[in-house]
Amino acid sequence: MKNVNRIGPMVVMGAATLYFLVPIWWLLVAASKSRAQFNNTTPLWFADFSLGDNLGELFAYRDGVFLRWMLNSVLYTGGAALIGTVLAAMCGYALAKYRFPGREAIFNVVLSGVLVPATALALPLFLIFSQFEATNTFWSVFLPSLVNPFGVYLARIYATASVPDELLEASRLDGSGEIRTFFTISSKLMFPALVTIFLFHFVAVWNNFLLPLIMLGNERLFPVTLGLYSWNTQVNQIPELRMFVLTGALVSIVPLVIAFLFLQRFWRNGLGSGAIK
């Protein structure tokens, strides 16, 4: 009976794992094939391993514009996630720990921001940035990416639960200012939540496609998602691009995988230590 109980979930989890991993496996296999073999060999197993050649060609194509896109993505995403996490943490913390008139109203507005999809905001943002002649710039993608209402929500919930008021009072009595208290004490207590917010934000900005599509016309500013998409729309007429798109897609998920593997450790530690308390 005990075994049966375990087999059921294992089968479901196994199927789900397979479902998520097969496309990535396919991508890895496809990116490792030469152009001729890509069409001719079975899609889910390796032929001659020419990933190195593909990467070399991809990085060299059009003066390495792909590497530029990767760098842009890392800047947009890393920068926005980092600053966005700090902003969300401070905002959520303030909403959780300070009492001031209009607190709930502000929180509700932020919360309703969670419900508005980022795609719906892209066009209004474009029109606003047009007013300032600031479209087609780094900032036109970076600035809107900084805010993250869901992060604020998460930070507030977590701050309420994990930062004891007594601790804040103690630090006030010891003469620590509010800002110092936040950065030296509260943010440490909120760390697991911050990692979560960072990861969510990182993935959201990395995958945000419509905003750069609408804002940017300068190829040197593209994030990797938009760059690969542009190439993919030209595959009909420039078929060589197909292999670049495939290899590029594989390379473009590497930073996400790294971010998850690296931060997962903090994440689990945090959740674990929270559970013991």
Partner: protein, 446 residues
């Protein structure tokens, strides 16, 4: 982001442009405003910076040739996905926000949608442009003028005249005569089927091919009498083409793999599909999609509806248009003319992106008169050069083609899976297109 001096000069010239636009729009109806028109295309004093949005890969190198020689008119390239992939939508947004580029890459079938939205500058006021008319293959001029006097809404850039790619080796081995008419094509299809292949793959989701086939047959889908649009996907010639392919589909003489997929490439690479009636740029698609078949292909004129006929269709092609918001139509037109007529630019465009020029003399570029190894050394571009002269000039596109393609493609997909007929699908697409036009308050003649 612009230096203050430039902003000021823009402000001044824009005030000028507004007054000019007011004059020329008044004279449109009478078409007698030659004098005002000419001043609408006057050169600017001082240096000009133009922006040009296109998705041609490698365009920077081509534009650099211009920038090096024209310090007074510098062109900045912007890029993005192809038109329907997002760049057209961006153009419309930018027109609304007032920051559209000076020049944009617009395919022929999308030009009417920009014109209906009043997004394009009429270059008929530029004498250099009207003087260049004879440099272009006749039908391409029809695409950018919409067949009207005193209107030029873009400079033709590239074209996609159609011909038939076929597996010479397989036809010879199986002793099948090369079809020159569509009747012979059906007969050949039966023999090919008996030999274990398909004569071709019917493009179920890319309607542009079907449009090219109808164009050849004399089908005319849209017309505009100056005030109202007429939509008719059921004229006799289009019906004839639809019935023809319906017959091949019903008899299972053609395959129907979704186009532009690996599966589709494979059908050609493995010899399952023996011909492809396609545009000149298709040469490159086969080369990279079916690398194992090198040397086995050849190109012949597309089959005709009457024996000895000489008509061809067109699939694809684009223009360089100047947007209404451009402050420098004269310089923009000058650049567009250089880009699409000068030998150096056409050679560079062909090298960078295999563009097939829209000019008459473009067909004699060295790269387009050589034998191509993949096609057994045949000088395939000569076939397309002839085809280009045989394309009818009066085929017009509608103002909502993306929508039309989508509804036709829904119907065609159903047909290849056994529901309905191509003509029923076209009828539905026609009704839906008329609905879309009406919903956008574009007048339709019933």
């Amino acid at each position: 982001m612009r230096p203050p001096m430039r902003s000021l000069s823009i402000l001044l010239t824009s005030a000028l442009a507004v007054t000019l636009a007011a004059c020329s729009s008044g004279s449109d109806d009478t078409s007698s405003g030659e004098a005002t028109d000419a001043s609408a295309c006057a050169p600017a004093t001082g240096n000009v910076e133009l922006t040009y949005t296109t998705w041609i890969p490698g365009i920077e190198d081509v534009v650099k040739l211009w920038n090096d020689k024209n310090p007074n008119i510098q062109v900045k390239v912007q890029t993005g996905p192809n038109g329907n992939g997002g760049t057209y939508a961006n153009f419309f947004n930018q027109l609304k926000a007032g920051n559209a580029p000076d020049l944009g890459h617009i395919e022929y079938d999308a030009l009417p949608s920009f014109r209906v939205q009043d997004g394009l500058t009429n270059l008929a006021a530029c004498s250099e442009v009207t003087a260049a008319k004879d440099k272009f293959v006749d039908w391409t001029w029809g695409q950018v003028t919409f067949g009207e006097e005193n209107s030029v809404y873009g400079i033709p850039q590239d074209t996609g005249p159609m011909a038939m790619f076929y597996r010479k080796d397989l036809f010879e081995k199986n002793n099948i005569a090369l079809p020159t008419t569509w009747d012979e094509y059906t007969a050949a299809a039966e023999k090919v089927k008996a030999a274990g292949g398909y004569i071709t793959n019917f493009s179920q989701s890319d309607i542009s091919q079907f449009a090219g086939l109808s164009w050849q047959a004399g089908g005319r889908w849209f017309s505009n009498d100056g005030s109202k649009w007429t939509v008719n996907f059921q004229d006799d010639n289009t019906k004839k083409v639809a019935d023809y392919w319906q017959n091949l589909i019903s008899k299972k003489l053609v395959s129907s793999v979704p186009p532009w997929t690996t599966e589709w490439d494979n059908a050609y690479n493995k010899g399952n599909a023996w011909t492809w009636v396609s545009a000149v740029w298709g040469a490159n698609s086969i080369m990279s999609g079916a690398p194992d078949t090198s040397g086995k292909w050849a190109v012949a004129p597309m089959p005709q509806w009457t024996a000895g006929g000489t008509s061809a269709g067109n699939w694809g092609g684009s223009s360089t248009a100047v947007f209404k918001t451009s402050k420098h139509p004269y310089e923009a037109a000058k650049f567009a003319l250089w880009l699409n007529t000068s030998d150096e630019a056409l050679t560079a465009l062909n090298k960078a992106a295999q563009l097939y020029p829209a000019t008459k003399s473009g067909a004699t570029l060295p790269a387009l008169t050589e034998g191509v190894e993949f096609y057994g050394g045949q000088k395939i571009y000569e076939v397309f050069a002839t085809a280009s002269t045989q394309v009818a000039a009066d085929f017009a596109w509608g103002p909502t083609m993306t929508d039309t393609y989508a509804s036709a493609s829904d119907g065609f997909k159903a047909v290849v899976s056994g529901t309905g007929t191509l003509n029923e699908a076209l009828k539905t697409a026609q009704t839906k297109t008329i609905d879309t036009l009406k919903s956008q308050s574009i007048p339709v003649a019933e």
